[in-house]
């Protein structure tokens, strides 16, 4: 009886499984397959030549890929840590219920609703050292901006990181808020009876109890951080020089500018492994936390 029911379930699931197989698994396998070939779409014959691991070896020896990996790691580390810290701070500040706070909370969600490309274009205009309003006021404060936040090699990466932080901190805030709302009240009552002050309650109760929320946010934002593209496309194009070239942008250049699909697929697989390793690490941490 049970077996028949399971068979029915499996039958009902089959269309969905086939869809997942078609839309998710097949492209992954296809990308893996073509990464072993010299496959250039702009070649009139579009012939694929088997090159083994040559595309991967080329990536490992390319100085531009090294720079792109370092920039990606810096971008992810910088944005994720800032977004989590600021998100937690904002969640703690806005964890009360009154009309004003509700209004502020809804306004703070607005940046997330905007497409990253639009956000990038807005910030590019704001950052423009010759015409931008932001730089106008900063210059009046006596700051020397040189070629501008997006034009100076040492400022460009922090400047694009700031855009990401501006757009995605509200997400961290929302998730932390949800976490805070679901915390049990009893440990706090007990702590108060024991004479714990607000700081001690935060440090010894709120932070440890929020650990699953931290981990989920870390996982989400890390994966999204590795995939950053639109903001860079709209602001710096990976420049100045290679100062903001991240791995995903480099993949785009190889795939969609030079149409070198084999090499781009190899780079994409490297990125997939990097993200996958981090995701597995976080998931293990999350599972341990649950147990």
């Amino acid at each position: 009886m049970k077996r028949t029911r399971e068979k029915h379930y499996l039958l009902l699931l089959t269309p969905l499984l086939l869809l997942v197989l078609l839309l998710a698994i097949y492209p992954l396998l296809f990308a893996l397959g073509i990464s072993f070939f010299n496959y250039r779409l702009t070649d009139p014959t579009q012939t694929r030549h088997f090159v083994g691991l040559a595309n991967y070896l080329r990536a490992f020896h390319s100085p531009l890929v090294h720079t792109a990996v370092i920039n990606t790691l810096l971008f992810v580390a910088g944005t994720v840590s800032l977004e989590l810290l600021l998100g937690l701070g904002m969640a703690l500040l806005l964890n009360h219920e009154n009309k004003l706070i509700q209004l502020i909370r809804s306004w703070l969600v607005l940046p997330m609703a905007l497409p990253a490309l639009v956000v990038g274009l807005i910030w590019k205009a704001l950052y423009n050292v010759d015409f931008g309003p932001l730089t106008y006021y900063l210059k009046h404060l006596g700051l020397n901006l040189g070629r501008g936040p997006l034009g100076e090699s040492h400022l460009a990466l922090p400047a694009v990181m700031l855009i990401d932080v501006w757009q995605w901190t509200p997400l961290a805030m929302l998730i932390f808020l949800a976490g805070l709302k679901s915390l049990p009240q009893e440990p706090y009552d007990a702590a108060r009876v024991d004479g714990a002050n607000s700081w001690q309650q935060f440090w010894h109760l709120t932070l440890p109890l929020l650990k699953p929320t931290w981990l989920i946010l870390l996982l989400l934002r890390t994966m999204q951080g590795f995939k950053v593209f639109d903001t860079l496309y709209a602001t710096t194009g990976g420049g100045p020089g290679t100062a903001t070239t991240v791995l995903n942008y480099h993949i785009y250049t190889q795939g969609m500018v030079f149409f070198r699909m084999g090499y781009a697929a190899a780079l994409a697989n490297i990125l997939l492994v990097l993200v996958g390793m981090l995701a597995i690490f976080y998931i293990i941490l999350l599972e341990r936390q649950r147990q």
Binding site: R40, L41, T42, D43, P44, Q46, R58, S62, L64, N128, V129, D130, F131, L145, G146, R147, G148, L150, G151, E152, S153, T236, G237, G238, G239, P240, G241, T242, A243, T253, M256, V257, F258, F259, R260
Partner: protein, 427 residues
């Protein structure tokens, strides 16, 4: 009246109107309008000339019955979207504006149709002798035509008449004079700069550097036609190019074409080399603070270099996968005909014909056409190598020259890396 009826009446009316519209006779071909009812899609760069397309397309539709849908895109998007269309053979666009530098690549890969058969068949009505010889480089490759000349640009020097006169400086005739004038006219404390340049990573800085290579007599190809960007001569030219940036606005290393134009039109810049198509806009008070204050002259070359002037612009091609090649050719014939070219230019298009450049009415409106004619006559359409590998050269120079300008690399290192990058990306 019940709710159902309230809803039903407008629905019935809508249905009746739809049926009525469906009963309308379709646009059918006739001897005068053999392609009536054909629908064409045109992918166009969103340059100034797109305004002329917007103005003229309805007229073309009325005359021929051919519908044309215009899709306007920026430079990078246009190239990427067209290439994707070509390699996937989707035939999404029937017609496309083709940058002069894409000719070699399009020809080699046969992305567009060779137009020579059409041109031979209709030679009697095309008035091809009237097209400026240099304009053919907008689509010619190894003796065949893969795009038809549409909009010719000359690289010219724009300068502020009032500012130069006040400083008692003659419009620079050499590159050395240009550098000296830029230095003299820069007053950074007053937010006024001698020159505006393209410095943004990507096609912008690559193309501006190539202009300076041409003006200093350099070349990106060796005598055998191989790509050689890191020659001592080109390194020296890059250093000169970098020197000019000292007299440009601080943000110039991030300027694309539009930002450079905005800077010049804002009135904070004394001189700017750029494409002639922008010239008319400086006299439009809606977008310019320098109305009546600016003039153009031939772009200065370095001392001892024979005067040749950078020529660029756009051709118009037919997608090799288009099912409407004949109708597309009708559009090309029409838009490039001497009669329509006059209207084309009057609505922000760029000229390709001698008759347009010398038309008395147009010269009265655009007095700089005489300078433009001279620049076209001595134009060099090959200063940016129109070879199939052009986009690889442009990408490498776009990254490494920008890295030099922001101080990440020396001129020698930048061009060495560009050469390496080119070699690594060559097919």
């Amino acid at each position: 009246m019940s709710e159902k009826r309230t809803l039903l009446i407008p629905l019935a009316l809508m249905l009746a109107l739809t049926l009525l519209a469906a009963c309308q006779p379709p646009t059918t071909p006739s001897p005068k309008k053999p392609f009536a009812g054909t629908a064409l899609t045109l992918a166009s760069m969103s340059d100034q000339y797109v305004a002329a397309f917007r103005y003229l397309i309805p007229q073309f539709q009325k005359e021929t019955g051919i519908e044309v849908t215009l899709d306007e895109m920026g430079y990078v998007d246009l190239y990427a979207k067209l290439t994707a269309d070509f390699v996937a053979h989707t035939g999404q666009y029937d017609l496309m504006t083709v940058d002069i530098v894409w000719t070699g690549e399009y020809a080699q890969n046969r992305y567009t149709l060779p137009l020579d058969t059409f041109m031979a068949r209709d030679s009697a009505i095309l008035a091809q002798d009237d097209i400026m010889p240099v304009a053919w480089s907008l689509g010619e490759w190894q003796g065949q035509h893969w795009a038809y000349p549409l909009a010719g640009y000359a690289n010219v020097l724009n300068y502020r008449k009032d500012v130069l006169a006040q400083a008692n400086i003659a419009p620079p005739a050499t590159q050395q004079a240009l550098l000296a004038a830029a230095q003299q006219l820069t007053h950074a404390q007053n937010d006024f700069y001698g020159i505006a340049l393209l410095g943004a990573k990507g096609p912008a800085v690559a193309q501006d550097y190539m202009v300076w290579v041409q003006q200093h007599g350099g070349s990106l190809l060796d005598e055998q036609g191989n790509i050689a960007v890191n020659t001592p001569e080109n390194v020296e030219i890059l250093q000169f190019f970098g020197q000019l940036f000292a007299y440009a606005p601080p943000g110039a290393t991030d300027y694309w074409w539009d930002q450079r134009e905005t800077a010049y039109r804002s009135g904070r810049i004394a001189m700017m080399e750029g494409w002639s198509i922008a010239r008319a806009g400086y006299e439009d008070p809606k977008i310019s603070n320098i109305v009546g204050k600016t003039a153009i002259t031939l772009a200065p070359v370095a001392q001892g270099v024979p005067p040749r002037y950078g020529f660029g612009g756009w051709g118009i091609g037919i997608n090799a996968d288009s099912a409407n090649a004949e109708a597309a050719w009708e559009f090309i014939k029409w838009i490039t005909s001497p009669e329509i070219q006059k209207q084309w230019v009057q609505h922000q298009g760029a000229p390709i014909r001698r008759s347009t450049l010398t038309d008395a009415q147009l010269v009265a409106t655009y007095p700089w056409f005489t300078t433009l004619l001279q620049a076209f006559e001595q134009g060099d359409g090959n200063y940016r190598p129109r070879i199939p590998e052009y986009s690889i050269i442009q990408d490498a120079l776009g990254t490494q020259v920008n890295a030099f300008l922001v101080g990440q690399l020396s001129a020698q290192q930048a061009l060495d890396r560009a050469q390496m990058q080119i070699q690594a990306n060559l097919p």
